[in-house]
Symmetry: C2
Subunit: 149 residues, 2 copies
Amino acid sequence: MTLYFEDLAVGRRFATAPATLSEAQIVEYAEIYDPQPIHIDRAAAAKGHYGGIIASGHQTLAIGFAQWIRLGHYRDSSLGGPALDEVRWSKPVRPGDMLETTVEVVEARPSASRPDRGIVVLGFTIATKAAGTVCSYRTTTFVKRRPAA
Amino acid sequence: MTLYFEDLAVGRRFATAPATLSEAQIVEYAEIYDPQPIHIDRAAAAKGHYGGIIASGHQTLAIGFAQWIRLGHYRDSSLGGPALDEVRWSKPVRPGDMLETTVEVVEARPSASRPDRGIVVLGFTIATKAAGTVCSYRTTTFVKRRPAA
């Protein structure tokens, strides 16, 4: 269900569907977007600090964002995102970890220059039951105001 | 060639090989990681603000980072990255755009707690000849100090 600027009050929270990344998905992603041994080379990763392959941090943040998009709240209201801030990777993500992403509205203000939209900052937290928070960040999006009835 | 903390003086700059994203790569990525119509639905995107499909911002930042990794400077010296800050998407990226990524050392300090490493902040700028900067950000990485000879 599409949510408009007026629906996104500071403090409103959303849970998304859990997601997992398989070893094959981690390697396939990293071969293109983050080709470091820790993400693509099982033998090298086994000898390294984490004892096995871990996901690219960019892949972790993206899969959390994807789960938010899949809720459909921005389907007809997003006008694009100019900024991403304060990405923190606090724990490794391993193949099969169940990633639970929660999203909270942390800022919401009308645009000073464009009356058709507001500016919304969402705080993302991606966590596993075992490790707690593995990644967090803040996204900024231009969001349509609710059309007149 | 691996570069260590001592090699990464503030102000040192690197150019990477150009990269492009095809429409198929943009759609394939976004189906998994950013399933918004502007990235995956050619008909909807044609009617939208940009007149066609544009790349997910997360994909743009990741391909720029990948081109840095492909230089090999972090191959044997990176100890992982805890943070990504100040990501700004200033222009859309379209299929076939030639993306040129430059990387500059913007901060470098020894770790206060771990004598084997330093903390390096790299500033990324991804640009096209036609549009100028399309994306910029800062990454933080733990980087090994040069081993004793």
